[in-house]
Protein backbone atom coordinates (compact mmCIF):
# COMPACT_ATOMS: atom_id res chain seq x y z
CA UNK A 1 0.00 0.00 0.00
CA UNK A 2 1.23 3.53 -0.71
CA UNK A 3 1.93 5.92 2.14
CA UNK A 4 -1.37 7.10 3.58
CA UNK A 5 -2.31 10.76 3.64
CA UNK A 6 -1.92 12.18 7.13
CA UNK A 7 -2.31 15.85 6.28
CA UNK A 8 -5.28 17.77 7.59
CA UNK A 9 -6.32 21.39 7.59
CA UNK A 10 -7.53 23.45 10.54
CA UNK A 11 -9.09 26.76 9.54
CA UNK A 12 -6.65 27.17 6.64
CA UNK A 13 -3.59 25.98 8.59
CA UNK A 14 -2.11 23.01 6.74
CA UNK A 15 -0.75 20.33 9.05
CA UNK A 16 1.48 17.52 7.77
CA UNK A 17 -0.17 15.26 10.32
CA UNK A 18 -2.91 15.78 12.88
CA UNK A 19 -0.66 15.80 15.97
CA UNK A 20 -0.07 19.13 17.69
CA UNK A 21 1.36 19.93 21.12
CA UNK A 22 -0.91 21.35 23.81
CA UNK A 23 -0.30 24.79 25.24
CA UNK A 24 1.56 24.87 28.53
CA UNK A 25 3.16 21.47 28.02
CA UNK A 26 5.68 22.31 25.31
CA UNK A 27 7.19 25.64 26.38
CA UNK A 28 7.89 27.74 23.31
CA UNK A 29 9.10 24.79 21.21
CA UNK A 30 12.87 25.14 21.64
CA UNK A 31 12.83 23.24 24.96
CA UNK A 32 11.94 20.06 23.08
CA UNK A 33 14.13 20.46 20.00
CA UNK A 34 16.96 18.38 21.56
CA UNK A 35 14.60 15.41 21.92
CA UNK A 36 12.54 15.43 18.76
CA UNK A 37 12.57 16.75 15.22
CA UNK A 38 9.83 19.37 15.41
CA UNK A 39 9.21 18.72 11.72
CA UNK A 40 7.64 15.37 12.64
CA UNK A 41 4.53 16.93 14.14
CA UNK A 42 1.65 18.89 12.68
CA UNK A 43 1.89 22.10 14.71
CA UNK A 44 3.25 23.61 17.90
CA UNK A 45 1.00 25.49 20.30
CA UNK A 46 2.95 27.83 22.57
CA UNK A 47 2.63 28.44 26.29
CA UNK A 48 -0.27 30.87 26.88
CA UNK A 49 0.93 34.45 26.31
CA UNK A 50 -0.27 37.65 27.93
CA UNK A 51 0.56 41.32 27.30
CA UNK A 52 2.87 41.60 30.32
CA UNK A 53 5.08 38.82 31.71
CA UNK A 54 3.19 36.83 34.32
CA UNK A 55 4.81 35.21 37.34
CA UNK A 56 2.29 32.48 37.97
CA UNK A 57 1.17 30.96 41.26
CA UNK A 58 3.09 30.08 44.45
CA UNK A 59 4.51 26.56 44.88
CA UNK A 60 3.77 23.66 45.11
CA UNK A 61 2.28 23.97 41.64
CA UNK A 62 2.03 20.36 40.56
CA UNK A 63 1.03 17.10 42.13
CA UNK A 64 0.52 13.66 40.71
CA UNK A 65 -2.75 11.76 41.09
CA UNK A 66 -3.62 8.29 39.75
CA UNK A 67 -3.63 8.46 35.96
CA UNK A 68 -3.16 12.19 35.92
CA UNK A 69 -1.58 15.29 37.33
CA UNK A 70 -2.90 18.48 38.83
CA UNK A 71 -1.25 21.74 37.95
CA UNK A 72 -1.74 25.27 39.20
CA UNK A 73 1.07 26.99 37.30
CA UNK A 74 -1.10 30.09 36.88
CA UNK A 75 -0.15 30.96 33.30
CA UNK A 76 3.45 31.98 34.04
CA UNK A 77 4.81 33.36 30.74
CA UNK A 78 7.36 35.77 29.31
CA UNK A 79 4.84 38.26 27.90
CA UNK A 80 4.38 39.26 24.28
CA UNK A 81 7.43 41.52 23.92
CA UNK A 82 9.89 38.90 25.17
CA UNK A 83 8.11 36.33 23.02
CA UNK A 84 8.77 38.44 19.94
CA UNK A 85 12.38 39.16 20.86
CA UNK A 86 13.48 35.84 22.34
CA UNK A 87 11.20 33.06 21.09
CA UNK A 88 10.16 33.99 17.55
CA UNK A 89 13.74 33.83 16.10
CA UNK A 90 13.86 30.11 16.93
CA UNK A 91 10.35 29.49 15.67
CA UNK A 92 11.35 31.07 12.34
CA UNK A 93 13.86 28.24 11.81
CA UNK A 94 11.36 25.37 11.94
CA UNK A 95 9.10 24.24 9.14
CA UNK A 96 6.14 23.53 11.40
CA UNK A 97 3.17 25.87 11.90
CA UNK A 98 3.20 27.72 15.19
CA UNK A 99 -0.05 28.56 16.92
CA UNK A 100 0.09 31.11 19.71
CA UNK A 101 -2.12 30.51 22.71
CA UNK A 102 -3.12 33.81 24.31
CA UNK A 103 -5.14 35.17 27.15
CA UNK A 104 -6.01 38.60 28.52
CA UNK A 105 -6.82 39.91 31.96
CA UNK A 106 -9.62 41.96 30.48
CA UNK A 107 -11.74 41.81 27.37
CA UNK A 108 -9.77 44.72 25.89
CA UNK A 109 -6.46 42.98 26.52
CA UNK A 110 -7.57 39.98 24.43
CA UNK A 111 -8.14 42.41 21.55
CA UNK A 112 -4.86 44.32 21.98
CA UNK A 113 -2.80 41.14 22.26
CA UNK A 114 -4.46 39.69 19.18
CA UNK A 115 -3.61 42.82 17.19
CA UNK A 116 0.07 42.45 18.14
CA UNK A 117 0.17 38.75 17.31
CA UNK A 118 -1.54 39.48 14.01
CA UNK A 119 1.63 41.36 12.96
CA UNK A 120 3.97 38.38 13.61
CA UNK A 121 4.34 36.55 10.29
CA UNK A 122 5.78 33.40 11.96
CA UNK A 123 2.47 32.80 13.75
CA UNK A 124 0.09 30.63 11.71
CA UNK A 125 -2.91 30.95 13.99
CA UNK A 126 -4.23 31.98 17.37
CA UNK A 127 -5.65 29.76 20.09
CA UNK A 128 -7.71 31.80 22.52
CA UNK A 129 -7.53 30.56 26.08
CA UNK A 130 -10.81 31.20 27.84
CA UNK A 131 -10.52 28.11 29.96
CA UNK A 132 -7.62 28.18 32.40
CA UNK A 133 -8.99 27.07 35.78
CA UNK A 134 -6.04 28.52 37.75
CA UNK A 135 -6.44 32.26 37.30
CA UNK A 136 -9.40 34.47 38.02
CA UNK A 137 -9.00 36.79 35.08
CA UNK A 138 -8.21 35.70 31.57
CA UNK A 139 -9.39 32.23 32.09
CA UNK A 140 -12.43 30.56 33.35
CA UNK A 141 -14.49 33.77 33.70
CA UNK A 142 -14.74 34.03 29.93
CA UNK A 143 -14.95 30.29 29.44
CA UNK A 144 -17.99 29.45 31.51
CA UNK A 145 -20.45 32.15 30.46
CA UNK A 146 -21.62 31.89 26.83
CA UNK A 147 -22.29 35.63 26.62
CA UNK A 148 -18.78 36.53 27.84
CA UNK A 149 -17.28 33.92 25.51
CA UNK A 150 -19.22 35.37 22.57
CA UNK A 151 -17.91 38.86 23.37
CA UNK A 152 -14.27 37.87 23.74
CA UNK A 153 -14.22 35.66 20.66
CA UNK A 154 -15.97 38.35 18.57
CA UNK A 155 -13.33 40.88 19.61
CA UNK A 156 -10.43 38.52 18.84
CA UNK A 157 -12.04 37.62 15.49
CA UNK A 158 -12.27 41.32 14.55
CA UNK A 159 -8.65 41.95 15.60
CA UNK A 160 -6.86 39.54 13.27
CA UNK A 161 -6.86 38.01 9.83
CA UNK A 162 -5.23 34.85 11.21
CA UNK A 163 -7.29 31.74 11.96
CA UNK A 164 -8.88 31.86 15.41
CA UNK A 165 -9.16 28.69 17.48
CA UNK A 166 -10.95 28.82 20.85
CA UNK A 167 -9.94 26.45 23.63
CA UNK A 168 -12.93 25.33 25.63
CA UNK A 169 -13.24 24.42 29.27
CA UNK A 170 -14.78 21.15 30.46
CA UNK A 171 -15.80 22.89 33.69
CA UNK A 172 -19.25 23.79 32.38
CA UNK A 173 -22.68 22.24 32.53
CA UNK A 174 -23.14 22.11 28.76
CA UNK A 175 -20.05 22.29 26.56
CA UNK A 176 -22.21 22.43 23.43
CA UNK A 177 -23.72 25.78 24.46
CA UNK A 178 -20.23 27.24 24.92
CA UNK A 179 -19.03 25.76 21.61
CA UNK A 180 -22.01 27.21 19.79
CA UNK A 181 -21.44 30.68 21.30
CA UNK A 182 -17.82 30.65 20.14
CA UNK A 183 -18.72 29.52 16.63
CA UNK A 184 -21.45 32.17 16.44
CA UNK A 185 -18.81 34.74 17.42
CA UNK A 186 -16.63 33.71 14.48
CA UNK A 187 -14.30 31.00 15.84
CA UNK A 188 -12.70 29.14 12.92
CA UNK A 189 -12.02 26.07 15.02
CA UNK A 190 -12.38 24.81 18.60
CA UNK A 191 -9.94 22.92 20.76
CA UNK A 192 -11.24 20.89 23.64
CA UNK A 193 -10.77 20.17 26.44
CA UNK A 194 -8.66 22.22 28.86
CA UNK A 195 -8.03 20.71 32.31
CA UNK A 196 -10.74 19.69 34.75
CA UNK A 197 -10.69 21.48 38.09
CA UNK A 198 -9.48 19.10 40.78
CA UNK A 199 -7.89 18.87 44.19
CA UNK A 200 -5.43 16.75 46.14
CA UNK A 201 -5.10 16.54 49.92
CA UNK A 202 -2.23 15.62 52.21
CA UNK A 203 -3.97 13.66 54.97
CA UNK A 204 -1.12 13.87 57.50
CA UNK A 205 -0.83 17.63 57.20
CA UNK A 206 -4.59 17.99 56.72
CA UNK A 207 -3.87 20.52 54.00
CA UNK A 208 -4.36 20.78 50.24
CA UNK A 209 -1.15 19.84 48.43
CA UNK A 210 -1.26 22.69 45.92
CA UNK A 211 -0.59 26.22 47.16
CA UNK A 212 -3.52 27.33 45.00
CA UNK A 213 -5.68 24.66 46.74
CA UNK A 214 -7.23 23.55 43.43
CA UNK A 215 -5.60 22.80 40.11
CA UNK A 216 -6.27 21.55 36.61
CA UNK A 217 -6.37 17.79 36.13
CA UNK A 218 -4.76 16.44 32.96
CA UNK A 219 -3.48 13.10 31.72
CA UNK A 220 -5.05 9.72 30.93
CA UNK A 221 -7.58 10.13 33.76
CA UNK A 222 -9.51 12.77 31.77
CA UNK A 223 -9.61 11.05 28.38
CA UNK A 224 -13.15 9.66 28.65
CA UNK A 225 -14.53 13.10 29.55
CA UNK A 226 -12.66 14.73 26.67
CA UNK A 227 -13.79 12.10 24.17
CA UNK A 228 -17.40 12.56 25.19
CA UNK A 229 -17.18 16.35 24.85
CA UNK A 230 -15.51 16.19 21.41
CA UNK A 231 -18.21 13.80 20.24
CA UNK A 232 -21.02 16.02 21.59
CA UNK A 233 -19.58 19.21 20.07
CA UNK A 234 -18.79 17.55 16.73
CA UNK A 235 -22.48 16.75 16.30
CA UNK A 236 -23.45 20.36 17.02
CA UNK A 237 -21.02 22.58 15.09
CA UNK A 238 -19.50 22.64 11.62
CA UNK A 239 -16.03 24.02 12.39
CA UNK A 240 -12.99 21.72 12.76
CA UNK A 241 -12.25 20.43 16.26
CA UNK A 242 -8.95 19.72 17.95
CA UNK A 243 -9.24 16.96 20.54
CA UNK A 244 -7.21 17.22 23.76
CA UNK A 245 -7.24 15.17 26.93
CA UNK A 246 -4.99 12.36 28.07
CA UNK A 247 -3.66 11.40 24.65
CA UNK A 248 -0.69 9.14 25.30
CA UNK A 249 -0.70 6.84 22.25
CA UNK A 250 -1.67 6.74 18.58
CA UNK A 251 -4.72 4.71 19.58
CA UNK A 252 -5.89 7.51 21.88
CA UNK A 253 -5.40 10.06 19.10
CA UNK A 254 -7.33 7.96 16.59
CA UNK A 255 -10.22 7.60 19.01
CA UNK A 256 -10.50 11.40 19.20
CA UNK A 257 -10.45 11.61 15.39
CA UNK A 258 -13.23 9.02 15.18
CA UNK A 259 -15.22 11.05 17.71
CA UNK A 260 -15.03 14.05 15.41
CA UNK A 261 -11.66 15.76 15.90
CA UNK A 262 -9.72 16.84 12.81
CA UNK A 263 -6.51 17.06 14.82
CA UNK A 264 -5.34 16.37 18.36
CA UNK A 265 -3.08 18.00 20.90
CA UNK A 266 -0.68 16.02 23.06
CA UNK A 267 -0.12 17.53 26.51
CA UNK A 268 0.86 15.66 29.66
CA UNK A 269 2.47 12.90 27.56
CA UNK A 270 5.21 15.40 26.58
CA UNK A 271 6.33 15.38 30.22
CA UNK A 272 6.71 11.62 30.32
CA UNK A 273 8.40 11.42 26.97
CA UNK A 274 9.65 14.58 25.25
CA UNK A 275 9.28 12.90 21.86
CA UNK A 276 5.73 11.65 22.55
CA UNK A 277 4.02 13.80 19.89
CA UNK A 278 6.31 12.51 17.12
CA UNK A 279 5.89 8.92 18.33
CA UNK A 280 2.12 9.32 18.26
CA UNK A 281 2.21 10.80 14.72
CA UNK A 282 4.34 7.86 13.54
CA UNK A 283 1.98 5.44 15.29
CA UNK A 284 -1.04 6.92 13.52
CA UNK A 285 0.64 6.34 10.17
CA UNK A 286 1.44 2.74 11.12
CA UNK A 287 -2.15 2.14 12.15
CA UNK A 288 -3.49 3.53 8.87
CA UNK A 289 -1.15 1.28 6.89
CA UNK A 290 -2.02 -1.78 8.98
CA UNK A 291 -5.73 -1.12 8.61
CA UNK A 292 -5.75 -0.19 4.94
CA UNK A 293 -6.89 3.39 5.46
CA UNK A 294 -5.42 5.61 2.75
CA UNK A 295 -6.49 8.97 4.15
CA UNK A 296 -6.77 10.07 7.77
CA UNK A 297 -9.65 12.34 6.78
CA UNK A 298 -11.79 9.26 6.18
CA UNK A 299 -11.74 8.64 9.92
CA UNK A 300 -12.80 12.12 11.11
CA UNK A 301 -16.16 11.73 12.84
CA UNK A 302 -16.51 8.20 11.46
CA UNK A 303 -17.64 6.80 14.80
CA UNK A 304 -20.51 4.34 14.45
CA UNK A 305 -23.06 4.76 17.19
CA UNK A 306 -25.87 2.58 15.85
CA UNK A 307 -26.39 -0.80 17.46
Amino acid sequence: MTTPNLSVEIAGIKLRNPVMTASGTFGYGAEFAPYMSLEKIGAIVTKGLSMKPKAGNPTPRIVETPGGMLNAIGLQNVGIEAFKAEKVPFLRTIATPVIVNLYGNTLEEYGELTEIIDTIPEVAGIEVNISCPNVKQGGIVFGTDPKAAFEVVSLVRESTLKPVIVKLSPNVTDVVVMAQACVDAGADALSLINTLTGMAIDLQKRRPILANITGGLSGPAIKPVALRMVWQVAKAVQVPLIGIGGIMTATDALEFILAGATAVQVGTANFLDPSAAATIAAGIEEWLVANGVSDIRDLIGALKTDR
Binding site: G27, I62, Q76, N270, F271
Partner: protein
Protein backbone atom coordinates in the same frame (compact mmCIF):
# COMPACT_ATOMS: atom_id res chain seq x y z
CA UNK B 1 19.35 12.50 25.88
CA UNK B 2 16.78 9.76 26.36
CA UNK B 3 17.88 6.17 26.73
CA UNK B 4 16.79 2.69 27.74
CA UNK B 5 18.78 1.34 30.59
CA UNK B 6 19.24 -2.05 32.23
CA UNK B 7 19.44 -2.45 35.98
CA UNK B 8 22.81 -3.84 37.03
CA UNK B 9 22.16 -3.82 40.78
CA UNK B 10 19.71 -2.30 43.23
CA UNK B 11 20.93 -2.60 46.79
CA UNK B 12 19.46 -1.38 50.08
CA UNK B 13 22.41 0.43 51.65
CA UNK B 14 20.55 1.60 54.74
CA UNK B 15 16.93 1.03 55.83
CA UNK B 16 14.75 2.47 53.00
CA UNK B 17 17.75 3.90 51.11
CA UNK B 18 18.76 2.20 47.86
CA UNK B 19 21.66 2.46 45.50
CA UNK B 20 20.70 1.59 41.94
CA UNK B 21 23.30 1.01 39.27
CA UNK B 22 22.18 0.89 35.63
CA UNK B 23 23.72 0.81 32.17
CA UNK B 24 24.11 4.10 30.34
CA UNK B 25 25.37 5.27 26.95
CA UNK B 26 29.06 6.32 26.79
CA UNK B 27 28.03 9.98 26.37
CA UNK B 28 26.92 9.95 30.04
CA UNK B 29 30.56 10.54 30.95
CA UNK B 30 30.09 14.15 29.83
CA UNK B 31 27.69 14.83 32.74
CA UNK B 32 28.53 17.53 35.26
CA UNK B 33 28.29 16.69 38.96
CA UNK B 34 24.97 18.09 40.23
CA UNK B 35 23.01 17.24 37.10
CA UNK B 36 20.06 14.88 37.41
CA UNK B 37 18.17 12.22 35.49
CA UNK B 38 14.41 11.72 35.13
CA UNK B 39 13.48 8.07 35.60
CA UNK B 40 10.28 6.49 34.36
CA UNK B 41 9.77 3.80 36.95
CA UNK B 42 7.36 1.75 34.88
CA UNK B 43 5.52 2.01 31.56
CA UNK B 44 2.05 2.19 33.18
CA UNK B 45 0.10 5.38 33.88
CA UNK B 46 0.25 5.15 37.66
CA UNK B 47 2.65 6.55 38.68
CA UNK B 48 2.40 8.80 35.68
CA UNK B 49 5.32 11.18 35.92
CA UNK B 50 9.02 10.55 35.87
CA UNK B 51 10.99 10.94 39.07
CA UNK B 52 14.08 13.16 39.27
CA UNK B 53 17.29 11.82 40.89
CA UNK B 54 20.71 13.42 41.23
CA UNK B 55 23.57 11.48 39.65
CA UNK B 56 25.33 9.66 42.50
CA UNK B 57 28.10 8.10 40.47
CA UNK B 58 29.25 7.38 36.93
CA UNK B 59 31.84 4.99 35.64
CA UNK B 60 32.57 2.06 33.42
CA UNK B 61 32.63 -1.66 34.02
CA UNK B 62 33.90 -4.72 32.18
CA UNK B 63 30.98 -6.60 30.66
CA UNK B 64 30.74 -10.36 30.87
CA UNK B 65 30.62 -10.49 27.08
CA UNK B 66 34.11 -10.04 25.70
CA UNK B 67 32.90 -8.43 22.49
CA UNK B 68 31.19 -5.62 24.39
CA UNK B 69 34.28 -4.42 26.24
CA UNK B 70 33.78 -1.70 28.79
CA UNK B 71 30.37 -0.21 29.25
CA UNK B 72 29.22 2.95 31.04
CA UNK B 73 27.06 2.88 34.15
CA UNK B 74 25.07 5.44 36.08
CA UNK B 75 24.13 5.22 39.74
CA UNK B 76 21.42 6.93 41.73
CA UNK B 77 20.92 6.90 45.48
CA UNK B 78 17.31 7.20 46.56
CA UNK B 79 15.04 6.94 49.55
CA UNK B 80 11.72 5.13 49.36
CA UNK B 81 9.17 7.84 50.10
CA UNK B 82 6.18 7.10 47.86
CA UNK B 83 4.71 4.95 45.14
CA UNK B 84 7.37 5.71 42.52
CA UNK B 85 10.38 5.01 44.69
CA UNK B 86 8.68 1.93 46.17
CA UNK B 87 8.32 0.49 42.65
CA UNK B 88 11.90 1.40 41.92
CA UNK B 89 13.06 -0.51 44.99
CA UNK B 90 11.42 -3.66 43.62
CA UNK B 91 13.55 -3.67 40.47
CA UNK B 92 16.14 -6.38 39.96
CA UNK B 93 19.17 -6.94 37.80
CA UNK B 94 18.07 -7.22 34.17
CA UNK B 95 14.98 -5.04 34.51
CA UNK B 96 14.69 -2.08 32.18
CA UNK B 97 14.20 1.63 32.78
CA UNK B 98 13.58 4.66 30.59
CA UNK B 99 15.91 7.53 31.46
CA UNK B 100 15.97 11.17 30.41
CA UNK B 101 19.13 13.11 31.11
CA UNK B 102 21.53 14.23 32.29
CA UNK B 103 19.50 17.41 32.79
CA UNK B 104 19.96 20.83 34.39
CA UNK B 105 22.94 22.82 35.52
CA UNK B 106 25.56 21.21 37.76
CA UNK B 107 28.19 22.50 40.19
CA UNK B 108 30.97 24.93 39.26
CA UNK B 109 34.25 23.64 40.73
CA UNK B 110 36.05 26.90 41.55
CA UNK B 111 39.82 27.25 42.01
CA UNK B 112 41.56 23.94 42.89
CA UNK B 113 43.63 25.73 45.55
CA UNK B 114 40.58 26.50 47.68
CA UNK B 115 39.23 24.12 50.29
CA UNK B 116 35.98 22.46 49.27
CA UNK B 117 33.31 22.11 51.93
CA UNK B 118 30.49 19.71 51.09
CA UNK B 119 27.35 19.68 53.23
CA UNK B 120 24.73 17.00 52.74
CA UNK B 121 21.66 15.77 54.52
CA UNK B 122 20.16 12.32 53.97
CA UNK B 123 19.63 11.53 50.32
CA UNK B 124 21.13 14.96 49.57
CA UNK B 125 24.51 13.23 49.79
CA UNK B 126 23.78 11.64 46.41
CA UNK B 127 25.01 14.37 44.02
CA UNK B 128 27.85 15.24 46.41
CA UNK B 129 29.56 11.89 45.91
CA UNK B 130 30.09 12.35 42.17
CA UNK B 131 31.11 15.96 42.91
CA UNK B 132 33.63 14.80 45.54
CA UNK B 133 35.12 12.31 43.07
CA UNK B 134 35.89 15.16 40.70
CA UNK B 135 36.99 17.66 43.34
CA UNK B 136 39.50 15.38 45.09
CA UNK B 137 41.54 15.31 41.87
CA UNK B 138 42.82 18.79 42.70
CA UNK B 139 41.48 20.04 46.01
CA UNK B 140 41.17 19.25 49.68
CA UNK B 141 37.59 18.13 50.28
CA UNK B 142 35.69 18.03 53.58
CA UNK B 143 32.27 16.47 53.90
CA UNK B 144 29.67 17.34 56.54
CA UNK B 145 26.94 14.73 56.56
CA UNK B 146 23.79 14.93 58.61
CA UNK B 147 20.62 13.03 59.30
CA UNK B 148 18.01 12.29 61.94
CA UNK B 149 19.83 9.09 62.92
CA UNK B 150 22.64 6.82 61.75
CA UNK B 151 20.47 5.24 59.04
CA UNK B 152 20.23 8.61 57.26
CA UNK B 153 23.99 8.98 56.93
CA UNK B 154 24.90 7.22 53.74
CA UNK B 155 27.98 5.91 52.00
CA UNK B 156 30.45 7.65 54.30
CA UNK B 157 33.01 4.92 53.67
CA UNK B 158 32.87 5.66 49.94
CA UNK B 159 33.62 9.32 50.56
CA UNK B 160 36.47 8.41 52.89
CA UNK B 161 37.91 6.09 50.27
CA UNK B 162 38.21 9.11 47.98
CA UNK B 163 40.33 10.84 50.61
CA UNK B 164 37.55 13.11 51.79
CA UNK B 165 37.68 14.16 55.44
CA UNK B 166 34.24 13.50 56.87
CA UNK B 167 32.30 15.02 59.77
CA UNK B 168 29.00 13.46 60.82
CA UNK B 169 26.17 14.77 62.95
CA UNK B 170 22.83 13.14 63.77
CA UNK B 171 19.83 14.55 65.59
CA UNK B 172 19.77 11.61 68.04
CA UNK B 173 23.54 11.17 68.33
CA UNK B 174 23.47 7.57 66.99
CA UNK B 175 26.36 8.49 64.70
CA UNK B 176 28.89 11.30 64.94
CA UNK B 177 28.10 14.43 66.91
CA UNK B 178 24.66 14.87 68.40
CA UNK B 179 22.90 17.86 66.85
CA UNK B 180 22.63 19.62 63.54
CA UNK B 181 25.24 19.12 60.87
CA UNK B 182 25.28 22.85 60.31
CA UNK B 183 26.70 23.35 63.83
CA UNK B 184 29.67 21.08 63.07
CA UNK B 185 29.96 22.76 59.71
CA UNK B 186 30.11 26.26 61.18
CA UNK B 187 33.03 25.33 63.43
CA UNK B 188 35.08 24.28 60.39
CA UNK B 189 33.81 27.10 58.19
CA UNK B 190 35.11 29.64 60.70
CA UNK B 191 38.57 28.09 60.24
CA UNK B 192 38.40 27.75 56.45
CA UNK B 193 41.13 29.46 54.47
CA UNK B 194 40.68 31.90 51.62
CA UNK B 195 39.17 30.63 48.35
CA UNK B 196 37.06 28.09 50.24
CA UNK B 197 33.85 27.07 48.54
CA UNK B 198 30.66 25.46 49.86
CA UNK B 199 28.55 22.86 48.05
CA UNK B 200 25.32 21.79 49.71
CA UNK B 201 22.44 19.42 49.02
CA UNK B 202 19.71 18.36 51.40
CA UNK B 203 16.41 19.40 52.95
CA UNK B 204 15.38 23.04 52.51
CA UNK B 205 15.88 24.09 56.18
CA UNK B 206 19.43 22.72 56.07
CA UNK B 207 20.19 24.58 52.82
CA UNK B 208 18.69 27.70 54.33
CA UNK B 209 21.02 27.44 57.34
CA UNK B 210 24.04 26.76 55.11
CA UNK B 211 23.19 29.73 52.88
CA UNK B 212 23.02 32.02 55.92
CA UNK B 213 26.37 30.73 57.21
CA UNK B 214 27.90 31.27 53.76
CA UNK B 215 26.74 34.85 53.89
CA UNK B 216 27.99 35.34 57.45
CA UNK B 217 31.48 34.06 56.61
CA UNK B 218 31.48 35.49 53.08
CA UNK B 219 32.20 32.13 51.44
CA UNK B 220 30.78 31.34 47.97
CA UNK B 221 28.08 28.70 48.21
CA UNK B 222 26.28 26.54 45.70
CA UNK B 223 23.14 24.65 46.66
CA UNK B 224 21.42 21.81 44.85
CA UNK B 225 17.64 21.88 45.23
CA UNK B 226 14.97 19.23 45.14
CA UNK B 227 11.50 19.91 43.71
CA UNK B 228 8.41 18.24 42.36
CA UNK B 229 8.89 18.13 38.60
CA UNK B 230 6.80 17.10 35.64
CA UNK B 231 8.89 17.67 32.50
CA UNK B 232 12.47 18.23 33.70
CA UNK B 233 13.27 20.40 30.67
CA UNK B 234 11.88 23.82 31.63
CA UNK B 235 8.54 23.57 29.84
CA UNK B 236 5.93 22.97 32.53
CA UNK B 237 7.19 25.55 35.07
CA UNK B 238 5.99 23.28 37.86
CA UNK B 239 9.27 23.21 39.83
CA UNK B 240 9.99 26.90 40.38
CA UNK B 241 11.56 28.43 43.50
CA UNK B 242 11.76 32.04 44.62
CA UNK B 243 14.68 34.03 43.23
CA UNK B 244 16.49 36.72 45.25
CA UNK B 245 14.30 39.55 43.95
CA UNK B 246 11.02 37.81 44.69
CA UNK B 247 8.21 39.66 46.39
CA UNK B 248 4.47 39.55 45.95
CA UNK B 249 4.64 42.64 43.77
CA UNK B 250 7.79 41.62 41.86
CA UNK B 251 7.64 37.86 41.44
CA UNK B 252 10.95 36.23 40.54
CA UNK B 253 10.69 32.49 40.03
CA UNK B 254 13.55 30.22 38.91
CA UNK B 255 13.03 26.81 37.37
CA UNK B 256 14.79 24.11 39.42
CA UNK B 257 15.06 21.78 36.43
CA UNK B 258 16.50 24.23 33.94
CA UNK B 259 17.98 27.19 35.87
CA UNK B 260 19.21 24.67 38.50
CA UNK B 261 19.10 22.27 40.27
CA UNK B 262 22.39 23.88 41.36
CA UNK B 263 22.14 27.58 42.21
CA UNK B 264 24.45 30.15 43.70
CA UNK B 265 22.92 30.55 47.17
CA UNK B 266 22.94 34.35 46.66
CA UNK B 267 20.54 34.01 43.73
CA UNK B 268 17.70 32.57 45.82
CA UNK B 269 15.36 33.96 48.43
CA UNK B 270 15.76 32.03 51.68
CA UNK B 271 13.28 33.74 53.98
Amino acid sequence: MQFKSMVLSNVEVSPSYFRLRMTAPPTISGSQPGQFVMVRVNPAIDPLLRRPFGVFDLGTFETAYTDCGRQSFLEILYKVVGKGTALLSDLHQGDHLDILGPLGKGFTFGEPAGEKLLVGGGVGLAPLYYLAKELVKGSKVNLFAGGRNKDDVLCITEFERLGVETYVATDDGTLGTRGLVTEVFEQQLAKAGPNAMIFACGPFPMLQAVALLAEKYQVPCQVSLEAYMACGVGACLGCVVKGKNHSDSTPDYRCVCKDGPVFDSKDLLWS
